[in-house]
């Protein structure tokens, strides 16, 4: 029942593990690590050297010792990317907070309240959120311009305020909370709002954190919608600012790489700390129901 590394029971023979699997894990890890290390190295060196140090590839390709240039970071933060990064943080944190509220209320109603056909409602909610907003972006755009929501934070957040995946995740967790706690609270005359606030929310902190991180990442990674709904340069998000820096006539790759590292570092740290939380809460097995 645990998702500890190596605890799955599907173990290869010792000799296979030593001579086949260990080198394979190493090779695959390297395949993922090399672009990441190249990105970090490039963010710390002058733009032109990112490509000249590739010919040929040596250890110096991945270690910027000569011409170390950490100023790429301060330089890129003083362009419009700096302001865009703040916009991304405001949108992602605001989106996570409001999205968590909406999703936890919905999940509570579906998991804790004895209503017939609540599973059908859950199915409809989750399937409807599978409709990709990208494919319906232009009618959404017409709606939001009609409501004068362009160039605003809530205009960026609103279309994805209800996250079907977060609702499903919290629903599964809420189902695991013993019904007897709910019934005891009801005998004491607690209202449903009270049961939500004082029983379910305090008992679900790890699941709520996972859901908040998933919604945060969703907003942090959104590209098309913030590109469409924001035209004003001081309201664009980090990803759009990065694409603009990249698309300039003479791209400063040092600065572009520094911006990419910053955009990856924030969710990366979040994920690194929450890795186990998330892996445990995204399990989709039937026995949790």
């Amino acid at each position: 029942m645990s998702s500890e590394v190596g605890g799955t029971g599907l173990e290869a023979r010792d000799d296979v593990r030593r001579w086949v699997i260990t080198p394979l894990v190493f090779a695959v890890g390297l395949l993922w690590a090399v672009p990441t290390v190249w990105l970090i190295a490039g963010s710390l060196r002058p733009s032109n050297e990112i490509f000249t140090t590739l010919d040929p590839v040596t250890w110096q390709t991945f270690l910027p010792i000569e011409n170390f240039k950490p100023e790429n970071y301060t330089n890129v933060l003083s362009t419009k990317f700096g302001r865009a990064l703040v916009n991304s943080l405001v949108i992602s944190i605001g989106g996570a907070a409001s999205g968590l509220f909406v999703a936890s209320l919905a999940a509570f109603a579906l998991a804790a309240m004895p209503i017939r056909r609540s599973r059908l409602v859950l199915g409809i909610v989750v399937v409807s959120f599978l409709v990709p907003t990208e494919a319906i972006s232009f009618p959404l755009f017409s709606l939001f311009t009609a409501w004068s929501l362009e160039n605003t934070y809530h205009g960026v957040i609103l279309p994805s305020i209800a996250d079907g995946f977060a609702i499903f995740l919290l629903y599964q967790f809420f189902l695991g909370i013993p019904r007897s706690l709910r019934d005891a609270a009801m005998v004491d005359g607690a209202s449903w709002l009270r049961i939500y606030r004082s029983v379910y929310v305090p008992l679900s902190v790890p699941a709520l954190i996972s859901a908040a991180i998933i919604i945060f990442l969703f907003h942090w990674q959104a590209y098309l919608w913030p590109l469409l709904i924001v035209a004003q340069q001081d309201m664009i998000v980090g990803q759009v600012a990065l694409a603009q820096l990249f698309g300039q006539f003479e791209t400063d790759y040092g600065m572009v790489f520094a911006a990419a590292v910053i955009l990856g570092l924030i969710p990366g740290m979040l994920l690194f700390y929450a890795q186990r939380y998330i892996i445990n809460s995204v399990s989709l097995s039937a026995d949790k129901e």
Binding site: I21, V28, A109, I136
Partner: protein, 280 residues
């Protein structure tokens, strides 16, 4: 209590109706109207289907979605099994594959855009192995494949996470019982692991299909549908028609086709996996 139920669900249901159902219905309606909103029946469909490039757009989309989903899920499954073996540093390497999923798509796009340049990282590494430099994104025959690499660098780690969670839920007693019966390692994978993982596998295939069908950032930033329309997928067609050439009726037709393809693929995946698991 019914009132409370509706109240708790209201924010989610209202946004569902306002931001999903209404725009979807509107897309269908716009696809049967001209620019001024007069009903024209299926005229827009007839026009776009007769457009010389449109069949190619659909074909490129299908190729991209089917290949990228197959590659990503197969790799994610292999890596999930690989990274849960007891090997030195497994936890560290798993984090290395896992962490790029936090890197937003525009960031991985610009990095891979640089890595896939003529004088970029990929060709430099290939050079060590004696393989000549490839044109990647600037070649009509390699551009779509290059986009698949970009999408997979992030995608594989993401889907792997769900499958690792699923692997952890399989009781080890099942394996022990099968081993007593003399089953080898590959038999364990085929007889126990894969059937027990049907649910998570179905989930990642469906979610990956939807995401791959609407992939936009790398195309908008790196290729703009080119070279020679090699990466001009339906999602880019929708964007191009709606926001560049401002032809809403044709954008709506492309969007309806895209939504239909996604719905069909997801339905087929459900049916295939369901019949697959019932046969066992």
């Amino acid at each position: 209590m019914r009132l409370w139920f509706v109240g708790f669900l209201a924010p989610a249901l209202v946004s569902l109706v306002a931001f999903r159902i209404v725009p979807t219905v509107w897309v269908f309606k716009q696809s049967t109207e001209d620019q001024l909103g007069n009903p024209v029946g299926l005229e827009n469909y007839r026009f776009l289907f007769n457009f010389p490039f449109f069949a190619e757009v659909v074909q490129t989309t299908l190729t991209f979605v089917l290949v990228v989903v197959a590659i990503q899920i197969a790799l994610a499954l292999c890596l999930a099994i690989l990274f849960t073996q007891r090997v030195p540093l497994a936890r560290f390497w798993r984090a290395v594959v896992f962490v790029p999923i936090g890197i937003p798509i525009a960031a991985s796009t610009v990095v891979w855009g640089a890595a896939l340049r003529e004088n970029g990282l990929v060709n430099a590494v290939l050079d060590i192995a004696g393989i000549p430099a490839q044109p990647w994104l600037s070649s009509p025959s390699q551009a779509l494949f290059s986009l698949m690499i970009i999408a997979s660098w992030v995608g594989v780690g993401y889907w792997m996470t769900f499958l690792i969670a699923g692997l952890g839920e399989i009781p080890s007693s099942l394996y022990e019982a099968a081993m007593i019966d003399g089953a080898g390692w590959f038999q364990l994978v085929r007889r126990i692991t894969l059937p027990m993982l049907t649910r998570p596998i179905l989930f990642v295939i469906v979610a990956d299909t939807v995401l791959a069908a609407v992939l936009f950032a790398p195309i908008a930033i790196l290729t703009r549908g080119g070279p020679s329309r090699a990466t001009h997928v339906l999602m880019y067609e929708v964007y191009d028609r709606a926001f560049i050439s401002r032809d809403i009726p044709l954008a709506a037709v492309a969007s309806v086709v895209l939504l239909t393809i996604v719905a069909l693929l997801v339905t087929v995946q459900f049916l295939l996996l369901k019949s697959g698991s019932e046969q066992r």
